[in-house]
Structure formats: C-alpha cells, structure tokens
C-alpha cells in the first residue's frame, strides 16, 4: 500500500518526502483547492520545484484541484489544471463533474483521481466516474465501513485510497453546507470549513468561549485544552440533551486497521492535514511508513505514539467500525 501525505507548503513537501511518503498531495494557493488557508499552498513555480524534488527521490506528486468551480469563473480552475500538468504532477485530484469532463477532453494524458469531495460512496458512483471520465483512483468518503470498502474494491476496477489519520469529517464530504449556513463560506465554494476568519475566542467567568460566525460552539473550563470550533464537533443542546451531538472533538487514527485495509484491497492510505506543521507531518508520516512496511512484511504493527498529535487528544476509527453509526 502507498502512503499519500499532506504537503501544505514546500517545506512540508520536503519533510514528507524525507519521512518516507510514497506520494505527496498539494494544491495551488487559491480557491481551487479545499485547503484554501492563508499562508498555505504552492505558487506555480513552487509546484514545479516540488515535483522536481519529489521525483528525484522517487516520490509522486498529486495536485488537488478539488473545489467546485464558481459559475462564470471556470477559467480559474481550467488554468489550474493546465498549470498542474505543465508542472509535471503525476495526477490531479478532482471533485467537480464539469472539471472532470474538461480534464478528459483537454488533458487526455493527465491521470485523474476522484477527490473525497466527490463523495463517491458506492460502486455505482465510482463506476460512473470511471466510465465517464477515465478516473483511475477514488478517494473514498469517510462514511464507509472496512467491509463496505472491501466489497467496493472487489466490484470496481479503480484503485481506492482511504484516509487513515487526521481530521475527521462526520458528514459526507463535498455535500456539507454547515459552514456556509453559519459563516457564508463553504468547503465546496471557498475551500474552507469553519474558517479561522470567523472564529473568536473570549475568556469569560464561565470559561473560554469559542465562537464561529458569532455562534457559541464550545465553552471549556479555564486551563483545559480548547478545541478549534469546527461546527460538527461543537457542543449543542437538543431537548434535554447537551453535548457533542454530532461528534466529539476527536480525530481519525486507523493505524490498527492497516492489516484489515490491506485485506480489503485498498491501494493507498492518506494522511489528512495540509494545514499542519512540518514537525507534525514528519512524525505522522514516519510512524505510518513504519506501520505500512511492517504490514507489507507480515510483521506485527509497531507500537505507535501518535495520541498526542490527535485533535483534542482523543482518536477514533470513525465510520470504519460499524458501531460508529
């Protein structure tokens, strides 16, 4: 299995390559990718340099152009596709039907991966993207169990890539407007979710309050770690219940499932976190590369120490276990 690692910056790309990535994924510094955060991502020149550096080490580069082009402004996304191909990337990761169609018509030599933002959650959807656009690999949404993944890989002639570590969407990705309901900015249109520009923290007698778009998302006791106010992991009230009604502030860690994912026929394992630091990337990539090497060689998994890197210090195997539902 290949390890696909986040590169939010050229420095992170070099760190991931050095730590044992088989491939890195990155995007241009604009709204064409789903991690459109200030200070992140690649200029055109940096993309070409990153590709040259990675290729020299035998590592592939995948370019995410995975937001949904704005009506009337599609040229911005079309240009990103052409520039990614010119930079020599090994594949582009796309979500939008129109952009996939454009890529198939105008960049026939470019390898197409289907972004998790396309939310292809069953063999029919994947088969459709393969037949219509020649998609070669699909990043599976985080709504599937390991058994469902195994049945998909048996049924489709497309490589599968699954998330194994990092941020965890509890909603079907690419089909979620919670962030735009609260802030007007969304993953699909703007490449951001629960954007930092709309976050405010305040110390109050009741504790530290974290707000998004003016809405109170968390209140944590003084001194306790305050999680980032991501909407779906906020603390809310419904009837007589108060708590993390959608999901606790946890993140995904599926390392223990690597043998099962290999048996399920998965091609590539993805680490989330282009917004993370170089040190974080180095540590997570090194640990997962060691784990993959162990699984491939039939050895037991090494004891991992990644707990302190997970959000809110708690981890879950998410939808991969059926009990999560």
């Amino acid at each position: 299995m290949d390890l696909v690692c986040p590169a939010g910056t050229p420095a992170s790309l070099r760190a991931a390559v050095g730590a044992g990535a088989h491939a890195v994924y990155c995007g241009f510094a604009d709204e064409t990718n789903a991690r459109n955060f200030p200070g992140l991502n690649f200029s055109r020149a940096e993309m070409a340099e990153g590709v040259a550096f990675a290729h020299a080490q035998g590592v592939k580069v995948l370019c995410a152009i995975n937001t949904f082009p704005r009506a009337g402004q599609q040229a911005i996304w079309h240009r990103a596709l052409a520039d990614a191909e010119a930079a020599g990337v090994d594949a582009v990761i796309l979500a939008d039907l129109g952009l996939l169609d454009h890529a198939r018509c105008h960049h026939p030599g470019l390898r197409l991966h289907l972004s998790v933002q396309a939310a292809a959650a069953n063999a029919d959807a994947i088969g459709l993207y393969a037949a219509a656009f020649g998609v070669r690999r699909v990043v599976l949404p985080r709504v599937l169990t390991v058994e469902e993944i195994a049945s998909i890989t048996r049924e489709v002639a497309v490589e599968t890539e699954v998330f194994v570590f990092g941020g965890l969407c509890v909603m079907a990705e690419g089909r979620c407007a919670l962030s735009s309901w609260a802030t007007g900015l969304s993953p699909n249109m703007n490449g951001v979710c629960s954007p930092a520009s709309h976050v405010a923290y305040a110390d109050t007698p009741g504790g530290q309050e974290a707000r998004l778009g003016g809405l109170l998302i968390h209140r944590t006791p003084k001194g306790a770690p305050a999680p980032y106010p991501t909407l779906c992991k906020g603390c809310f009230t419904s009837g007589d219940q108060t708590g993390h009604l959608f999901e606790d502030p946890v993140s995904l860690d599926a390392m223990t499932l690597l043998p099962a994912l290999k048996r399920a026929g998965v091609t590539a394992l993805k680490i989330e976190g282009r917004q993370r630091s170089r040190a974080y990337v180095t540590e997570v990539v090194r640990a997962f590369r060691a784990a993959i090497d162990a699984v491939e060689a039939g050895r037991p998994l090494p004891a991992a120490q990644l707990q302190r890197l997970t959000e809110g210090q708690a981890a879950t195997t998410g939808a991969y276990a059926k009990t999560w539902r």
């Binding site: 599609q74 129109g98 029919d124 459709l128 407007a177 309901w181 778009g213 809310f236 959608f246 059926k322």
Partner: protein, 291 residues
Amino acid sequence: MDLTIGPNAFFWPRETVRAFYRDLAAAPFARLVIGEWVCSKRLPFWDQEIPQAVETLQAAGKEVAISSLALITLPRERRQTAALFETGLPVEIADLSALRHMPNSYPFWVGPTVNVYNEGTLDWLASRGARRICLPVELPLASISVLARAGAERGVAVEVWGHGKAPLALSARCYHARLHDRAKDACLFVCGEDPHGRDVSTLEGRSFLTVNGIQTLGQAVTTVAGQIERLRSAGVSSLRLSPQPGDFPALVAAYAAAGPDLLGQVQGLLPGQLIANGFAEGQAGLALQKG
C-alpha cells in the same frame, strides 16, 4: 416562474402522508417530486401510499417525478434505486450514483443534493439527458443567474430552493438515533417522533440546526420570498417548496400569488418559526435580509 414541490424530508405516518398529498392536489403548483429522500429504512412504512398519491396528483394535472435517496450506500439501497427506473415516472436523482442504473434516454431531474455549481457540470448533466436541475441551497444569486442563463440555452429548467428547512448535510451516522443513545441499525424509528425534525440550539439557546435522521437541516426555514423578483429576472424557471407540517397548501398558494409582502405573509403562516434567506445574498445561510 412556477412551483415545484420537493420530496418530503421527514418521517410521517402513512395516514399523514395520504392526507398531505390528497389535500395538496388542489394547490396551485406545476409539479411534484415524491419518494423517500433521506432514509431507506423509512420507506416500507409509507411506500404503499405512493401509487395513490401519484394518481391523484396526475389527475389534478401535476407532473410527478420520483426521488432517489440522497445518500446511497447499502446493496439494498442500490437495488431500490435501480427499481425507480421501472416506475415509468421521471426520476429525480438526489445522489449521482443513481445515474449508473438509468436506461438510455430515460428522463431525469437533478435534486439539490447533487453538486451543480457551474456551467460545465450543467452541460455534462444536460448531455446525459437532464431535463430539470434544482441547484444546491448554498448558491448565491450571482451563480444562480449564470446557471439559469446556461440552463435556458441548453433546454434545462433551472430551479432554486424556494422554501423549507435547507438540506445542509448527510452522514453515515443517524443523529436522531445518536440523540437517543441508539445505533443507526437499532434506531426504533425515533425520527418519527419529530414531524419537522429535531431542533438543535447553541449553548446560549440560539436556534441553529435541525436533525432529521442522517440529514442535518437549517433550523430557520429558508425562504426566497423576499428575492422573487430578482430570481424571476435572472431567468429561474421554478421555485422548490419543501413539504412541512401545518397548512402547507396555504404556503403554496402564497408563493403562487407572490404578492408584494410575500415575506411577511410567509412569516405569518409560520408562527413561532424563524425564517432565513442569507444563502441567496451570499451571506451566512441563517441570516435574514429584510426588504
């Protein structure tokens, strides 16, 4: 600009469903989408009502399509989706994978949970035979205008979310069951207790979201009542009204008449409920722009 009634998002007893479509048949709208949109486990409880409702509505001169689920994962759900194309009715795809089951040149509509954000996607769907497209709820007027124009050029009717709690998200997990400490497979159909979904507020008591099985909606009722003229001049073909409890035929009649104070009228028909219209203005969806 005419009116389309969307599929009912909520889990209602079959008697309620029967009365809803019977009473609606006389209301002034052009077409309607029926079918289970949210959870395949609900369907056996009310699908016997579908043939009668379709007959009644067609007899009243309404065009009727049948909806797919918005999130299709299980083998059973894939089979159910394939069977929709045996009904002879136009199928509204709410999950793109439904297209995989579609016979050649079968008429289909596209629901608001399929991502149509630009002309390229509209073109592709049109080339596959889409007749109508209801745009995603979060699109601002600027995008709606471009897409309405593109649709008109290609013979595809472009519709926007006109009224109803906005469909914001879908999950593999059932939040209704989770609120009752149950797993999705042992939900005991608890979503049936909340005919307009279960409201979720912030810790300060501000209304925010509504949980409806695996679906999350905005709690405030989204309405374009204050934006009708701009949508009309943008070339929007139809407004989608989403079923809700209460006097729904009166709401339909209000939108059909589209009088000068439609926003106030809609608010009057929804006592105790918040309304919102931020999405069309390019703002937070829960915002309300007056006048």
